[in-house]
């Protein structure tokens, strides 16, 4: 039995950690991290992802590639809560000599699978890991977390085309569809829609989910795994709210790429604590 209450509490704690990390660092991307927190929690704590924190590079582990690398605080917080390293490491984010880098660097911390931060690159790496599984006779899955603005990058569609051509059915993308990029609403900045049809036409199986409903997310995660025998790669388009969990950040996209000021952080902490 999946304990969704425990997962929701995990998500709340991770949101708090993201707040503390970025506030202490005085920079970073809390709103982008909060947007995808429930997605990451569903994967890491819902039983779908196979991993061994005490053997982080276990050859058969499922891969989690954070393609939207600016959500590094989320990645680190999730890995810490999953047991990859001590939570105290989180407070060194962006500090001199700390491996907890502003954007993820492959292998610098256990569980960090890829160097990301220049958007558009993670899906291609995922295909490489799938080819690696085939050549090494291993059976793991690869999960790639994409941003919606990130899908403006041409390389995403190069990879989308190749993944279906090479029948990468163990490759699963999850799209953090929060409808905002850095400078504004995506609908205003770029014609990204129709997104479902785009992915379908590239040969992917597409599911949509409420990206803050852990039950729905896990159901879709399980569904796309069950559909692997069709041979298609899959994407879950998760509808999310950028800044989820902190009302005044949800309401203001210009929080992108900004840490909260101390008084804002106090308010945010209050809201997140009240959500217990």
């Amino acid at each position: 039995m999946t304990d969704f209450d425990a997962m929701r509490e995990k998500a709340r704690q991770i949101r708090l950690d993201i707040l503390e990390m970025t506030t202490k660092a005085g920079s970073g991307h809390p709103s982008s991290s909060w947007s995808a927190t429930d997605i990451a929690v569903a994967l890491f704590f819902g039983g779908a992802l196979r991993y061994r924190p005490d053997d982080p590079w276990w050859a058969e582990r499922d891969r989690f590639i954070m393609s939207k690398g600016h959500a590094a605080p989320l990645l680190y917080a999730v890995l810490a809560h999953a047991g990859y390293f001590d939570r105290d490491e989180l407070w060194t984010l962006r500090e001199i000599d700390s491996p907890v880098q502003g954007h993820p660097i492959q292998g610098l911390m256990p569980g960090v699978e890829a160097t990301t931060g220049s958007l558009g690159q993670g899906l291609s790496l995922g295909i490489g890991h799938i080819f690696g599984a085939r050549l090494n006779n291993l059976d793991y899955r690869v999960w790639v977390l994409l941003g919606d603005g990130e899908c403006e990058a041409g390389q995403i569609w190069e990879a989308a085309m190749a993944a279906s051509h090479f029948n990468c059915h163990k490759l699963h993308a999850i799209l953090d569809y929060n409808k905002y990029q850095e400078t504004g609403p995506i609908s205003r900045e770029m014609a990204l829609e129709p997104l479902v049809e785009k992915w379908r036409s590239f040969g992917w199986h597409v599911e949509e989910a409420n990206g803050h409903d852990l039950e729905d997310l896990l159901a879709k995660i399980e569904l796309v795994q069950m559909l692997e025998p069709t041979g298609q790669p899959s994407i879950i388009i998760a509808h999310t709210i950028k800044g989820k969990g902190v009302s005044f950040v949800e309401a203001d996209f210009t929080f992108h790429g900004r840490a909260l000021k101390p008084d804002q952080a106090d308010k945010a902490r209050e809201e997140l604590n009240a959500a217990r």
């Binding site: 690159q121 291609s124 490489g128 080819f131 390389q155």
Partner: protein, 322 residues
């Protein structure tokens, strides 16, 4: 005049064919080797691996960014990817992907830039790789290899696979004559080869300019100038010792490369020589210019990349000693 003729070097087949053979030989020996192609395997000759090991050959298509990313993912799975396309297409289309996924990640991936230099000839400047040393030079974790003949190409491909970390290897369309016996080439990454001894001037060449340097040395000998010729097949890590010894022994250096002078091999050698043992230097390479479509032999003459140009530079360097 045929490249290497004055020096009495034995002609060979195009270097890209040698590369294809070397890659195939490596793939036969090492099951970890995988090849990633950007739809140019017939030109780069990487396709030789496709015919024998289709399961270890991936044509990712005309999508260099994805090509590099897929290769990097394979490297993370302990395979040894050789990512092969034209030097210009890989470095210019996928610079950022190489930077993050290979250079910053410091992973064990090999990038092969084929059709380096201007000697692909008639396809013109959009296809030429005249800035590849400078571009790869921007990645501090990359070793940069530039084989000069068939034996050194075989050795370089093998050395690239054995080297733990990012490697760039330049291949070329033209034929480079035999400088080393096929079974006796002393190639080691970071260790330049002295291919001709001499005490009056040292000619430091990379790629086809090693054979041109040997031709030049033969011509200079007729004038009583005794030139040392160094095959600088590794641009990084640079063999400081061999270069400084040459500067000390001869007192004059000429660097010759099929690349822009700006940011090329010569400018990096000059940095080392200026720091450790400054002597007069002259440079043979491309001045600030692109190069048009034409027969390679005509281009080499027009853009001053011949043995004659090395001779002129060597005389000037020797004169500057006095």
């Amino acid at each position: 005049m045929q490249l290497g003729e004055k020096a009495g070097l034995k002609p060979s087949v195009p270097l890209r064919d040698v590369f294809g053979d070397a890659l195939l030989a490596l793939a036969r020996e090492n099951p970890q080797v995988v090849v990633l192609d950007g739809d140019l395997g017939n030109s780069t000759k990487a396709e030789k691996v496709r015919f024998e090991f289709p399961e270890r050959f991936f044509n990712i298509g005309i999508a260099e960014s994805n090509l590099v990313g897929v290769g990097a993912g394979l490297a993370a799975c302990d395979l040894i990817p050789f990512i092969v396309s034209f030097s210009s297409f890989l470095l210019c289309n996928a610079y950022d992907q190489i930077r993050l996924s290979i250079a910053i990640s410091n992973i064990n991936a090999k990038v092969v830039g084929s059709h380096g230099g201007i000697t692909l000839g008639k396809d013109g400047p959009t296809q030429m790789g005249i800035e590849d040393f400078a571009l790869v030079g921007g990645f501090p974790t990359f070793a940069i290899l530039v084989p000069s003949d068939p034996a050194s190409m075989h050795k370089a491909v093998r050395a690239a696979a054995e080297h733990e970390g990012p490697v760039f290897l330049r291949s070329s369309r033209i034929a480079m004559p035999h400088i080393y016996p096929m079974d006796d080439c002393p190639f080691a990454i970071g260790k330049a080869s002295v291919v001709r001894d001499g005490g009056d001037v040292a000619i430091v060449g990379s790629g086809m300019m090693v054979a041109a340097g040997l031709d030049a040395a033969a011509m200079l000998a007729a004038d009583g100038i005794d030139a040392r010729v160094i095959d600088l097949h590794t641009i990084r890590p640079m063999d400081v010792e061999t270069l400084v010894t040459a500067a000390r022994d001869t007192g004059a250096l000429v660097c010759a490369e099929e690349h822009l002078l700006h940011g090329g091999m010569g400018s990096n050698v000059a940095r080392v020589i200026a720091e450790y043992h400054a002597v007069p230097m002259r440079f043979v390479g491309l001045a600030d210019t692109y190069v048009e479509s034409a027969d390679p032999a005509d281009l080499l003459v027009k853009y001053h990349l011949t043995a004659d140009d090395i001779v002129t530079a060597a005389r000037a360097a020797v004169d500057a000693k006095r």
